[in-house]
């Protein structure tokens, strides 16, 4: 169970990085749109 939880923690950290990337991507796109208009 301990090992399972450790791996889950690692996987959730990777997931968090991916979510942050999506958010940053949206932020950039939003900024570009604001500039454009």
């Amino acid at each position: 169970t301990t090992r399972f939880l450790e791996e889950e923690t690692l996987r959730s950290q990777e997931l968090l990085q991916r979510l942050d990337a999506h958010i940053q991507s949206m932020k950039l796109e939003n900024s570009n749109t604001v500039c454009k208009y």
Binding site: F4, L5, S12, I23, M26, K27, N30, T33
Partner: protein, 53 residues
Amino acid sequence: AGLEEMKEQYMKAVEKIKGDMLRYLQESKERAAELIKTEVLKERQDTARRMRR
């Protein structure tokens, strides 16, 4: 100004979604660990019962 405002609102909304997801993840991790422990314990108790018989 409207576009700037929407940009901030979208950022806020998406951060909130991330926060909710993380909380859910944490709970789901704890539930999974509990489930594993319970299943293994149940198996051990069944085993002990069978051995006594």
